[in-house]
């Protein structure tokens, strides 16, 4: 990469810290442990103070070098709360010390909720750490996948954490609920169950899969769109409510993109990748959903002790993911909704014989969903010219 290309690169504005590499659950759909990449087996369980300090210095160096006004730091795992309150407190303080005062830091933490208690939340309140909790629906829906290693379901254990986040004392820390779509679950039942916990936002995630290892229930027949039908049921329930009961990032991103705005999700749109992952051993990696595709797919060979984040920007894989539409498959480039779909989540484009130069494996579902949302938007807003064939 030339110096000019580096100057034009989009700096990293999101840093995902794997503060702990293990989990107290054994969910069968987990992208960390249950897919192609098994590198977690060889990594330290907890990020050491030395790696935390070095990572903090790299974040500070990058923020200063690019004059970043803000950076998002996501504490992740495995299950990040297994790292303990002391490590989390140390991490946040180290980053704050290392990053220029002119750079705002937004902290987030994604947890399964089982260890989340008032002690953790008081610490998070001190540092302004926003919390997302993973839950796939009611006990029957959630516990089909989110189970302990001995087979027990986790729903009962997560509810107290969500009740704490609902409380007035901790409400300001409540980021929302992350829910992985399961076609076996009734979509509206799932949505309404999650609404019972008053989340400010819900992230509906499609289960990981690709053209070589398709997602569960995703048929080869591209005229069938079971995931779109599931999501459309939730969309219709959400959009037709008398008031906005919660934010749903996937739907709001599609609406924004349809109206010429930007995405708020890596799953849609043509935004340039600006996320970097730091593993517990200090390895610098790409987004770790790539671990669902092939062993080592997320690796860069770089390490915080030896390499700056600018060197990661120059890595061919990361550079390639900042090329927008030019980096997409020919099918995607010719598609009339490419600016909205964006080719879908990068990991979902993988095929073993040609890598990532493919549409998402959810291409047919995305096409159907986007057309449906476009039709509903057209009905609800003043539209230029005649509207026909809304696909609703």
């Amino acid at each position: 990469m030339t110096r000019g290309e580096l100057e034009e690169a989009t700096p990293f504005r999101q840093v995902l810290l794997k503060v702990h590499s293990r989990c107290n659950l054994s969910c069968d759909h987990c992208y960390m442990y249950e897919h192609a990449d098994q590198s977690w087996r060889h990594r330290p369980m907890v990020m050491s103070k030395r790696i935390i300090d070095t990572t903090a210095a790299r974040i500070g160096e990058h923020a200063e070098r690019h004059g970043l006004g803000a950076v998002v730091v996501i504490l992740h795992g495995g299950e990040p709360l297994l790292a303990g309150a002391h490590t989390i407190d140390y991490t946040v303080r180290a980053i704050r010390r290392a990053v220029p005062k002119t750079t705002a830091i937004r902290y987030g933490l994604q947890t399964n909720g089982l260890l989340l208690d008032a002690r953790f939340l008081d610490l998070f309140a001190q540092h302004g750490i926003e919390v997302g909790v993973s839950l796939d629906g009611d006990a029957e829906a959630n516990d089909r996948h989110r189970r302990y290693a001995d087979g027990r379901g986790s729903h009962t254990g997560v509810v107290p954490a969500l009740r704490l986040l609902q409380s007035q004392r901790y409400r300001h820390l409540y980021g929302g609920i992350l829910c992985t779509v399961d076609l076996y679950n009734d979509p509206v039942d799932v949505y309404e169950h999650l609404l019972g916990f008053e989340p400010p936002g819900i992230d509906l995630l499609l289960p990981h899969g690709n053209w070589t290892k398709p997602p569960p229930g995703r048929p080869d027949d591209q005229t069938q769109t079971p995931y779109a039908e599931w999501l459309i049921s939730v969309f219709d329930r959400w959009i037709n409510a008398p008031r906005r009961e919660t934010r749903i990032r996937l739907f709001e991103s599609i609406i924004s993109l349809l109206l010429g705005g930007r995405t708020t999700s890596e799953a849609v749109g043509l935004g340039k990748v600006d996320l970097i992952t730091i593993e517990t051993d200090g390895a610098i990696e790409q987004g770790d959903t790539l671990k669902t595709t092939a062993e080592g797919a997320a690796a860069t060979g770089l390490h915080v002790a030896r390499n700056s984040f600018d060197e990661a920007l120059a890595h061919p894989a990361i550079h390639g993911r900042q090329q927008g539409i030019a980096a997409l498959s020919e099918i995607c480039r010719r598609c009339p909704i490419v600016k909205i779909c964006g080719g879908g989540l990068y990991a979902h484009r993988y095929r073993v014989d040609n890598g990532f130069v493919n549409p998402t494996v959810y291409s047919a579902d995305m096409f159907r969903l986007i057309r449906h949302i476009a039709g509903r938007v057209a009905l609800g807003l003043p539209v230029k010219g005649p509207v026909r064939g809304t696909g609703v």
Binding site: R13, D274, G287, A374
Partner: protein
């Protein structure tokens, strides 16, 4: 192969900057108002989706 008809609906949609006033009530209008008001400077371009 996907059917690409009906995409004229998408090309006929207004741009956010054309929607400053006279939005109807409801969830869609609430979302659009927030999109119009959003200050996106320094926001990530591709926010990580395994975190809400």
């Amino acid at each position: 192969m996907l059917a690409y008809d009906d995409t004229d609906v998408i090309s006929g949609l207004p741009r956010l900057e054309e929607l400053s006033e006279s939005l109807p009530e409801g969830v869609l209008a609430e979302v659009v108002r927030e999109l119009i008001d959003r200050d996106s400077i320094d926001e990530p371009q591709t926010p990580f989706q395994n975190y809400v």
